[in-house]
Symmetry: D2
Subunit: 265 residues, 4 copies
């Protein structure tokens, strides 16, 4: 990774990796026009910048809710536009890439696809920012390899996301590896954000891990948020309420200021 220098990734009016902390919120999966609009309003009101929501879901078992597909991306886009937010969503196959690029501001490669070299290579020649999550069984060296697969094609707009790795500890869903934040910044020069929701697996741990991520130097946060998480079709247990989301964003702002940074504007 010698040729990669410290670089920020601009996405519309924001810059990932600058002094401003970027906040991403939204549900695990887009479930309906109504659901995503309510959440978008709350994310925007809380000072969030980007709306997330899955439409193509990679679930462990095929019986689980698999997402709404392309119509879900359209709902996400409309909800974000209505509230002045950007959008990020995950793609799980090369066949989805073009329509996803037309609708999204950032394309996410999820943890289960970090090793999907065909998908990574297809993103290489595209002019779209990529949010590259770390595989939960992937070493830092392998994560760097995934970055290289994208960059080889010319696309240098890569934002990294630490979301927890698999360890023997079962009290949490995954083990958040916050040392990966400074290590990946050193090795790649790229912005690194953190997803505390998937690491925690339970909502009362999201706030402490979110604050810890910022203190470790993260450039942003992605948090699963629902107005009524107990009704979510997936990941409800780790999803914070819209009220909690607003509270966490406020506290993140305070910690960021103590470190000479601020919430992105």
């Amino acid at each position: 990774m010698k040729t990669i220098s410290q670089q920020q990734v601009p996405v519309q009016d924001y810059r990932f990796g600058g002094e401003g902390i970027v906040i991403i919120g939204g549900p695990c999966a887009v479930e309906s026009e109504d659901q995503i609009h309510h959440i978008a309003r709350a994310v925007a009101a809380a000072g969030g910048h980007v709306l997330r929501g899955g439409a193509f879901k990679s679930r462990t078992h095929p019986g689980a809710f698999q997402g709404l597909g392309l119509p879900g991306l359209h709902m996400l886009r409309r909800a974000a536009d209505a509230h002045g937010l950007l959008v990020v969503s995950e793609v799980t196959d090369t066949a989805q890439l073009q329509s996803a690029a037309d609708l999204l501001d950032i394309i996410q490669v999820g943890a289960r696809h970090m090793h999907n070299t065909a998908l990574l290579q297809a993103l290489g020649p595209m002019d779209v920012p990529v949010l590259l999550k770390r595989g939960f069984g992937a070493t830092i060296d392998e994560w760097c390899g995934a970055v290289e697969y994208i960059m080889e094609g010319g696309n240098r707009k890569v934002i990294l996301c630490e979301r927890g790795i698999r360890s023997f500890e079962t009290a949490t869903r995954f083990t958040l590896d916050l040392a990966a934040v400074p290590v990946m910044k050193q090795r790649t020069g790229l912005p690194v954000i953190v997803d505390p929701s998937h690491a925690a697996g339970q909502r009362d741990l999201v706030a402490p891990l979110a604050l810890a991520a910022i203190a470790a130097g993260a450039d942003g946060l992605m948090m699963e948020t629902q107005c009524h998480p107990e009704e979510a079709l997936s990941d409800g247990a780790q999803t914070v309420t819209c009220e909690d989301f607003a509270d966490i964003v406020k506290r993140v702002g305070t910690v960021a200021e103590a470190l000479g940074r601020w919430l992105a504007e």
Copy 2:
């Protein structure tokens, strides 16, 4: 997985999961017509049944040898036919599936793609045996989920392959989880084979792990084999020589007989 009963998977003249142990040998990657013919001859002479060889490789870094692609599959097929062997090779994207199915007896889903649900779903409606490797960061429950994704589409010809999981131990490349053999047989009723090469990461450990796999109840073995492993473009350190391969197959036969099984005929 309640609907899955104990079932053998027929592939041409062999049955995975019966009393006969099936032996798969061949290089990490097909490198040339010459290379794969030499190895095919040695695998057949040693009593092996299936020739393996990668043509679409998912490597950690893009600078590493990525395989010969479709021409590599043709070489593999010709070499196998010349020596009366079946062929298995890995696909890494849905776009490769149709031509792979035309050329191969078994399509392999590799460890890095066990979570690739688009690929698994595309294999569902196809009439081709699938060798489904366990992801190195995947739990047994997630592995069962991947089986379900394929079977939902109607394809019940799934052969499982344990190849080592990631643990803190670095003396070997991965930690071979042989308890997964009886556990997966109980849970799915499907045949389970073992790849000791990737688990070991060094060739002198392949023989003891291969024998241990058979004693644990494995229905077959997949071992990386080269006539000149020190010249291999990938995975040379864990690749056994053709002489060692023949010796291991012989010892596998002896252990199998002690357990009331035998090498497939």
Copy 3:
């Protein structure tokens, strides 16, 4: 460990690390004179060589049964003597060492104490065989370090025991690392036995893992055995019945013979 050469460890009439496979059976904990005598009889009848049984137990929580202490060791000794067996039991503190050495043929250092350097150093000047289990969080390098702590004091009668390490997989209690058998034999020249019971955590996996261990080159087995495991005060779920124990020993003998070895006589 350069100075350590291939060496067998004699214990009374047996030699660990020779061609004969040594079988150790018995309960997790000695519970009563009656219990241990019944089990000793069954272990001897099945062809076992050494009786195990804990008297000083290191349990996760203090409310769990902690063992009978020194009186338990006396019961163990008497039961073994009555049936021509040797005895092994665990010590958990330097204060127990002298009386343990007077009563036992082999002193066990358990997985939770592999890092207890005070205990290891105290065993150094003693003339007693030590069964050194691998810590479930310990690397192979650290296990070698524990061997060195004992040997520095002059005691070279060390028998190693792989018993599973901690990984992310929860379908079994621990993940049995059978590659450790050949690796530790290479590095230390010492005999290595395997405890499949603690790795499995459930009795129906003990047999396949026991046979796999022998095929991987293990010099012996330690299996938790009870005549009525469902009544055991600890570890009942992973304890095989005396009938199953006899059956496993017989099958171990068959596999050993296929490998040019045999049950110790």
Copy 4:
């Protein structure tokens, strides 16, 4: 752990678990009167509260520096007294406990001894605060079990210390599990501090992990500190300089204030 309520642990003039953050600094091992006095002066000048320094070391290999023993504890005490600091040091065997209790303000049980139930039980009836580090292979449930072993004897002055667990990632020495901070506070009500040095294994990661720990809710920090870390007989690579220590303490104070806490006074 139902009976344990939220409780602070007073140690001389400080209270662990209150709003004040307690800072512990000092070398891996006490090496000489001169060394420890220089460091004590720097720790005190930087605003640290407690001096650490090992005298009984549990090293992986016996050839490594094992510490000065009891004379080392005397040096540590004198250096601390000269600069108004408290002292904490590790014991590794029950035989060391009484003289350690006479000299130390806090007795540390190290990661390698968290499972040493004899040591834990011996601390139960003593009236001395215990710093109980998490074993690097220990689950949160097992850590709770170790707390219970101490408390059963009546000693309720237990301070917990997360110091990283073992995962497959090798870019850092261990993987710091910051979710353990809120989880253990919920489960035990006890103060939890964090040791970023052992988790990081390299000094440039100590600052981000220290700040992250405070943001996650830690009640204190323990950081390995040396005036000339490159000369340290052990753990030099992960030891920060006295200048860096002072800088980290200052930044910790700023982050603590953003969270409504402060450095202990």
